[in-house]
Symmetry: D2
Subunit: 434 residues, 4 copies
Amino acid sequence: MSDFFAGIPAVTYEGPEARSDFAFRHYNPDEMVMGKRMEDQLRFAVAWWHSFAWEGGDPFGGPTFQRPWFGDTLDHARAKADAAFEMFRILNVPFYCFHDADIRPEGASFAETTANLEAMVDYLGQKQEASGKRLLWGTANLFSHRRYMAGAATNPDPDVFAYAAATIKTCMDATHKLGGANYVLWGGREGYETLLNTDLGREREQAGRMLQMVVDYKHKIGFEGTILLEPKPQEPTKHQYDYDVATVFSFLSEFGLQDEVKMNIEQGHAILAGHSFEHELALAREFGILGSIDMNRNDYQSGWDTDQFPNNIPEVALAYYEILRAGGFDTGGTNFDSKLRRQSLDPADLIAAHVAAMDVCAAGLKAAARMLEDGELEQRREDRYAGWRAPSAEAMLNGGKLEDCFAHVMETGLDPQPVSGGQERLEALVARYL
Amino acid sequence: MSDFFAGIPAVTYEGPEARSDFAFRHYNPDEMVMGKRMEDQLRFAVAWWHSFAWEGGDPFGGPTFQRPWFGDTLDHARAKADAAFEMFRILNVPFYCFHDADIRPEGASFAETTANLEAMVDYLGQKQEASGKRLLWGTANLFSHRRYMAGAATNPDPDVFAYAAATIKTCMDATHKLGGANYVLWGGREGYETLLNTDLGREREQAGRMLQMVVDYKHKIGFEGTILLEPKPQEPTKHQYDYDVATVFSFLSEFGLQDEVKMNIEQGHAILAGHSFEHELALAREFGILGSIDMNRNDYQSGWDTDQFPNNIPEVALAYYEILRAGGFDTGGTNFDSKLRRQSLDPADLIAAHVAAMDVCAAGLKAAARMLEDGELEQRREDRYAGWRAPSAEAMLNGGKLEDCFAHVMETGLDPQPVSGGQERLEALVARYL
Amino acid sequence: MSDFFAGIPAVTYEGPEARSDFAFRHYNPDEMVMGKRMEDQLRFAVAWWHSFAWEGGDPFGGPTFQRPWFGDTLDHARAKADAAFEMFRILNVPFYCFHDADIRPEGASFAETTANLEAMVDYLGQKQEASGKRLLWGTANLFSHRRYMAGAATNPDPDVFAYAAATIKTCMDATHKLGGANYVLWGGREGYETLLNTDLGREREQAGRMLQMVVDYKHKIGFEGTILLEPKPQEPTKHQYDYDVATVFSFLSEFGLQDEVKMNIEQGHAILAGHSFEHELALAREFGILGSIDMNRNDYQSGWDTDQFPNNIPEVALAYYEILRAGGFDTGGTNFDSKLRRQSLDPADLIAAHVAAMDVCAAGLKAAARMLEDGELEQRREDRYAGWRAPSAEAMLNGGKLEDCFAHVMETGLDPQPVSGGQERLEALVARYL
Amino acid sequence: MSDFFAGIPAVTYEGPEARSDFAFRHYNPDEMVMGKRMEDQLRFAVAWWHSFAWEGGDPFGGPTFQRPWFGDTLDHARAKADAAFEMFRILNVPFYCFHDADIRPEGASFAETTANLEAMVDYLGQKQEASGKRLLWGTANLFSHRRYMAGAATNPDPDVFAYAAATIKTCMDATHKLGGANYVLWGGREGYETLLNTDLGREREQAGRMLQMVVDYKHKIGFEGTILLEPKPQEPTKHQYDYDVATVFSFLSEFGLQDEVKMNIEQGHAILAGHSFEHELALAREFGILGSIDMNRNDYQSGWDTDQFPNNIPEVALAYYEILRAGGFDTGGTNFDSKLRRQSLDPADLIAAHVAAMDVCAAGLKAAARMLEDGELEQRREDRYAGWRAPSAEAMLNGGKLEDCFAHVMETGLDPQPVSGGQERLEALVARYL
């Protein structure tokens, strides 16, 4: 279909000793991990935007990539799709993800843009059928066009809100038609550049309404996938309302949507918010809103979203550990929201980067599974809180009072002694599974 | 009572041309600002811990200060109190704040510690009566002693929870007895050093229970002050559960306490969480939980809590602007949670630092009041959202649907055009009031 | 010439009470500040790139600005120049700055590009003559085109080095012809994305050679301006070799160029490197390499280069204080390397932003001058080191030995006592001049 | 000698499958790595301060550790040394490091302090002889005592300079007597808290003089070890003069000491300065000043120096790769400047943390050696710059001129095309050796 990747073989598992850039050393789709095929645990997806739409620009330079499909016509869009499905075949990934703007040319009007989208949905539908590839999630790009410069749902102009809502409808329709497993909302410009011109309370209301409309429409059309929100603290905005998992949870709670919406959590966004990836995953799990992940890594010495391919197995293992503790993915998966460095011009770079990242994830998942199955880490965690299983401790949590605690401490002369947290020994324990 | 500040005169308002370190150039307690005396708007408080208890140590060095009241006896504690009230008199501040550990020596047992606290509360009560000074808030230090190394409310050991609860009771009693306007909770170690040994969900439950107990006890004893929680993202912990205003709001919502508890917001903590101070204040105001502030500044080039005295009027003005938009303080106030640099050894440093900080706050407040009274900034903000006053826009917010928006956009060929956000002009406008 | 700013009056000094966005409240060109006209102290320049070439894009969105001069022809370039000089007139700024790529269209070949540059230099020369405006500095854009994606002077491909060198020659010629006061080098991509493919030592040699060639060529053509290097720690690269002033000084020293090259220091770059602006300025002054400044501000909550217009007078005052301590600018000046927020679409935004920034700088300069003329701050600084004027102390610095110090301490039982650093009182002192 | 570690066996290599906290899984001292025994490549040292002197305090809490040797007498100091050497035996580390303040009690006078130091040096000398353990480096603590609050060499008071110089002499004598392989200088307070009271140029001169005195004294006493400087950007100061490797190199160059002094580079300090550890190591290697390392890790989400034990093999491998490229350590080594988390109270924590860290380093070293011996990474790096081997390219570097480059580009119509940097493929290559 596309000869863009000509000469690059389909990538298969060849074992840890393989030396080629086009062989899996760890990712073995049919290998069983905690009762599921590895493919079904990881549920890898390729992101259309970074791999096929991004041109290699950055704030100080223009495009570096020169892809045959760059252009504004439906022919270009189809050529892009051909290359994409060719890459999915080579990589043997089961899923992909897109924004509307990634897959269709912008039209001269909303109607034309919508028609373009529908045409491409048909085309992708055919390619899905031919290939067996599936859509992990679709989403609407409500941040790149200048109409959204001051936000989409949170725009001071209700016409932009309406335009965004209409666009989301088309994207939910597209996702539904393509059998998407989830629908994602990332509010890239739902935030502010300066508080001086911003009505925080009103914008919050607007965002809440839009989310309710998304949930309503999901039910109306019978979309059975999960609605996912993706937190990010900032960039391009100074402040984004979906700062982190805790912030989004407060938002969902306020609007009564905590049972309708889950989180799509990205490593790089966690880092920008001052958290580890595993923190955000664990917190979402505890809130019952862990949905899917955007897998990448953020450079620890850069203060912006670098979206690099993951390359650190110990870090990735801790992330999958939290996911496995949640029972693994349901409708979610591992989307590579990772982009080539802009100097990586070659088709082979695109394949090799994904292959390496898939291997890093596979190795991390396997280590996480060993750690969980072995059980020692969870045992130590449980032991640390063992005192709370005492009836008196449980009683304190269920209706305890300050004055009762006071009386107890006074009467018994209680003088609790600190106990080692054992952090280094736990880290050493984790290292054994890697 | 104390001759520690011998030779330093009582500080009074002398006008902008005053050159002495011991004169107010902006703070004029009786001057009216937005309908209240400046003193009643700002409600300044001195923090006992930094000014009287901190010895000048840092992670790489021991004490630098040599105060006559350093020591572990009640006599030392009374000498400390004498110096404190002498400073309040010199500065003409109406309020002060303390942790239990600041004002009383630790005893050999909980009972002895409590007795020490009660003795000092009596002593402070007498000093309050003699001076007219008041307690803005009291709090319990549940982080310095080694028993709290793994948290207080969130400790894996229920005995520590009980000990902390008992201690809070004594501190609430103390605050109540001294007529405190608020009671504060800062969970310095309510967080974790490593996720590996932490049960996030359980610790959250424990924290929720403790907060409920505090609220219950408040009502039981008839304390009419406000319960305040103070967010901080980290330090000394890797992660603190009370990360920022949004996070705490999600916590309050979860436990149904959003009408019982407000926020005590600190500039330095906002900065550590990746926010501006005014962001945290504005967000708390929108949530209806803006209570009080810890005024200081964090060095922008340092990654830890530097707790410096504020010195930047433009920044402080933006903070008070958000407070005035909320109607000003109710029970809250401006607590100087600011500490001398450890090289500032002299008694005069302690006075001069507070004088300068009070002036910065007064100048900032006056600028904020001018800005609000003039009304142009708020007018521009309102104008920006004017489109939302149209009935069709309001309808969209109240029951709108994606499909209706879609139909509307398709029918009208809606193509919203971006409008300047005018940020630079707004910043220029703000500058005019400074 | 250009009607882009139609309706906006020429901006003049109207005094502190002026309320218009198009009036100076502090900037009064003819007012004397430390023996020079304010205009001659500040030497304001407008940056061509942000004001006329930047289209409002960011990493998550395309252009927002729609300027009549956007396009790839010489006609567009001339229209852009017309608007620029119209703005210089309105603002009454004496200087401007450019990269080659800002003022001329890229050609199909190096020769054509050079011809375009020469044509525009002629055009700008005419406009300079007609307006009296001058060039503060010119520079070559060696980072935007994809040929420079791996650096210019430090590129692994010597052809890129040659191409860059040839381009610099044309830009130095252009600057020379236009009577530029300085020539600047900013090595936006002279650094690396990954150490794995980088030969640090070799790239350093290449950079050294290029700089030597620039200095040689300056002397050859008799350019009497100053060669300036602009430090920046990173972005777009992961690491840039010209990290900060200290790093660049080590580079200049290594290649023996410390008397030939000075620094162009940017506020935002200082912040990204973990320094205050005044630190970088003071350090350059002590090294004798303080040349010029790029005035802007970096958002303290954003981890990338935000290039905002300065709006904080206390901060700007500290910067000018270090400049005035160096005797003020020689060939350098205050270049507004500041860009509109991408939502600030209107021509009036561009004017108003500069007006406000010029006022902030003027107010800061005047405060700095008062502080320096008053002399108290410098007196306190000098007093702090007074002990070093003792002959024994001077002797220690000139040939002292550890063993002599040891003998002295042992013999005298020396036990030096700490003295207050007085930081808060110094900050209070500074506040008095603001 | 000490029963502090009673019950903990001597740790030996048991292979990757070992599960005990007290077994090496990777560290096998006699295994050959690139021509040396692993022990001789890694040259592990234990840091006296963190392991034996630190009491577990942090800025918000007091001591948590309760060690029998805590106290101010020589008996305590000897008990501490007994425990230390017992730990060296258990861990089978060849080296240790100390500050004077770690090993001896402070006396009432300089003379007494010196006598205490000498007594302890004798004691350590005996223990060295009995155990075969060696001193990797000694250093003077010139930052903890309040006399140093404003710096040691850079203090405004020349008496403090003299006192510091005298102290350094005693510490160099101690290090010399104990056969130390290096002598280290870390200027923990050689920097400033505020520029307002600081004479940058003068303080730089003072620091230069002190360093010269150290070098002179080294030669005078015939100390054959290496003088090492340890960069750190800040903390406890706002700014430290020894910011990073590049800054220190500029300092050494200015004072002509670049052949006399090398770098002791710490992971955590690199991170605080905005660099990766491998960057600082590579840069020092290129400057010819790579000496020794302080091995730890800094929490990426914390803005202060966390000094944690290393636990990430991929990161550590990249560090050792740069060291091996430099030919490995000469007099330097791997000092664990790592401290227990303050909740890790147990003797076993101290042992287990070091065991795990030694294993991480050993695994990292072995991976680095495989990578270097295999040669593919270095081959790819060399290939990337192959163009520079052409005579015309070499000529350009040796005396090239801008005008020649210009002529060449014009004549040939040179249009260099970008080539992939291959970052992801290089990262994948690195992963194969891990």
